[in-house]
Symmetry: C2
Subunit: 443 residues, 2 copies
């Protein structure tokens, strides 16, 4: 039912455009983020693969069309529209920043150019899909930076916003450099490494903690990680040390992780288990990870759950999808809105990245920015993929390099820093001209 999974007003507008004879006008919409949340110096673009899958499979089922017919909002709409809907497929062009690209406010992550109705009704799905994964990838990048090369595993499926969001959060977190996820479906679907051994219920389901640890070791061998805090962290750690190899590590999930990790390290070391790892979990985020490491806690890896899968400090982005151009027969108009504090810039854009700044220019502008790579690249051509979609692993490597190459001030997690984003003179003057005239007909 993907096509109906949109805001109703997309569909009333579709009917209105159809009735007004505007179905075949060619619209250009841009998806961008208005402002950065408080604790973000950059975002990491993500979710494009799912957006492309959606656009490629877009269609209305019969029950969806029957439902629309039944609504009072559609009582004046002619039958032709519903026939049109049943044959509707997405035939537009899409340009986008590759997943893993750092992105800044106002810069389009995605541009859709196609028949007005098709380009309009996909707004809601594209916004939720791209904004959600971008939210998570951006949070994950901060956690990865905080961990200074130590491993971060995404553990947040149980706190994700519905079961469907879990694997997608895992995907976005992996894109930004997390080592893997606890979500098994994400492992199968996206090829992400999966981690996890046992919960407190495992310990509690045996008559003694020792029985539970011995059973886990028999099951997992060198993959064994004991969760040691069910009853008493240090007793649990001593038990793990006493059982000896094979063992991969122990996990701490409560209490003062600085003190416990030191004490547990000592217990393991004294038993000769110097390579046995200490993993910690328990409401971690980038600030707590940074604090643990700056306190000298001997931690080898972090499991980050809730804060990562919900981006708890900034769970939503001000992502918008705005009409910037419209072509009707011979007339080509640029469009923008001028609502208080919510004005937009007209015209399809391109973004050029320089070491110290980005420049936004018009897409069709013969710019002087040829020394910089354009960030937006063709993805769909009349609804068909331009190339096969890159592997997630490859996107992840690019993302990690791109984050590494950002100026160090932007990569700070404890201090705000604003990227300079310039407008090309042509884009600026188009915006000014349009504000005076409302809608600018060109050509």
């Amino acid at each position: 039912m993907a096509a109906l999974n949109t805001d109703l007003y997309e569909l009333t507008m579709a009917a209105g455009f159809f009735v007004a004879g505007k179905a075949e006008e060619i619209a250009t919409f841009e998806l961008s983020v208005r402002r950065l949340p408080a604790n973000r110096n950059f975002l990491i673009a993500a979710g494009l693969e799912q957006a492309v899958e959606y656009l490629s499979g877009l269609r209305f089922e019969k029950d969806e069309i029957d439902y629309l017919r039944s609504l009072s909002q559609f009582s004046r709409v002619p039958d032709e529209f519903f026939r049109y809907l049943s044959g509707l497929r997405f035939r537009g062009d899409v340009f986008a920043m590759p997943e893993g690209t750092p992105v800044f406010p106002g810069e389009p992550l995605l541009i859709v150019r196609g028949p007005l109705i098709e380009a309009q009704i996909v707004e809601t799905f594209l916004l939720s899909t791209i904004a959600f994964q971008t939210t998570i990838a951006s949070k994950a990048a901060r956690c990865v930076i905080a961990a200074q090369g130590r491993s971060i595993v995404e553990f947040g499926s149980r706190r994700a916003h519905s079961s469907g969001a879990g694997p997608l959060a895992a995907r976005a977190a992996y894109l930004s450099g997390c080592t893997g996820t606890s979500n098994a479906e994400a492992g199968l679907k996206y090829g992400i490494p999966v981690f996890g051994t046992a919960a407190h219920s495992w310990t509690m389901a045996f008559q003694t903690e020792e029985q539970s640890f011995r059973s886990l070791q028999r099951l997992l061998g060198e993959n064994t990680i004991y969760l040691v805090d069910t009853y008493d962290t240090l007793e649990g750690a001593r038990l793990a040390a006493q059982l000896g190899p094979p063992i991969l590590g122990v996990r701490l999930d409560s209490g003062d992780l600085v003190t416990y990790s030191r004490q547990v390290r000592q217990i393991l070391d004294e038993a000769g288990l110097r390579t046995t790892q200490i993993m910690v979990t328990n409401d971690l985020n980038e600030a707590r990870i940074a604090h643990l490491l700056s306190s000298g806690a001997p931690i080898d890896s972090f499991g980050v759950g809730t804060e990562l899968s919900t981006s708890a400090d900034a769970p939503a982005l001000s992502a918008v999808y705005k009409l910037v151009e419209l072509q009707a027969g011979q007339s080509h108009i640029y469009t923008a809105k001028y609502s208080d504090n919510k004005a937009t810039l007209p015209g399809a854009k391109q973004v050029y990245r320089f070491p110290d700044r980005d420049v936004m220019a018009l897409q069709n502008e013969c710019s002087g920015y040829s020394e910089a790579d354009p960030l937006l690249r063709p993805v769909l051509d009349k609804g068909k993929p331009v190339t096969s979609y890159p592997f997630l692993k490859e996107l992840r490597e690019n993302a990690m390099s791109a984050i590494q190459e950002l100026p160090s001030d932007l990569r700070r997690i404890d201090q705000a820093c604003q990227r300079r984003v310039d407008l090309s003179p042509q884009l600026r003057s188009l915006g000014d001209d349009l504000r005076n005239s409302r809608q600018l007909v060109t050509k």
Copy 2:
């Protein structure tokens, strides 16, 4: 692929329980919320219908089992386990609070009692499904309280955490008293009233605002709501007034909504459009709604998006799923964990609600609470529904009454208030006994 959509450790534990001969032990798990987020005095239980659907349809597909076989964590697991998985269905009993019930920290929303492996592996899905909808329903209840009888429409699909979360957020918001949603799929799937007329792109797609308004009026008749702020709010409102009936209302989406709503009300009234409604949107939440109304803004309805569909101030709950009992042959043990600040109470529980307090008692306790209704009721019996699932509309009416009947201090949105939740003497002494002995074998 629902069965694999879980944390890997659920499945390694399943394998371990199988190998240890514990597959047929009967476990009881409780799903509850540890603490309330900062701005919540109560939660509204939601998501049970989707949880029941999941449990009823639980099964592993061949590709999911093949995937598990391929993982190093399963290299020592015998073939019998994978055969067992392919035949696994959920045959447990479920007790739950009906959707729409106000719930407080520590109180089980859901109890699962069934074969250990089945009851264990459903943890992740149940947590994400119930915690997410409960999060949204709880936020929605606050918005509805703030609106003092005015209508709230859920508009947040575009900011929901993935496209799948949008309809579920709409469902949870409706449960708590919202009037409807913008999400068309939620309308079809859950029978929720749907709303929405046009976006800024509608206005921008016509040569003039007037053309766009006239086309909308022709399309929607008495359902017409003009979005008036694309270029200039007051000009837009004057245009709407000038076009006259049929008109349902105007929507304001930017700027100072107190001032604009007053000015627009005057424009409409002077044109004789006294019944024409004013709807407002623009990053609303319960505090802003309360502020608008206390400022005397003449607003008839509110569209709430991001803050509602992500519960932006509290996007996650500390929801947990804990083993409380385990029955193996003749031995019946109560279980709990004692991790720092994360201790749990043993034994399956029942919750009794009195006007001024709740009492948590053991489920099997012959309590003296017969004058109060037990909140947890049987939902599944050996995997089969006990009754047909109630209609959402009916659950919504019950939810709205239950919220209305809460003590007025709890219903305040600007002040914290804690519900008294007592433990029965038997529950308290079981907890104390167990803490001393780790695991208490009874019977």
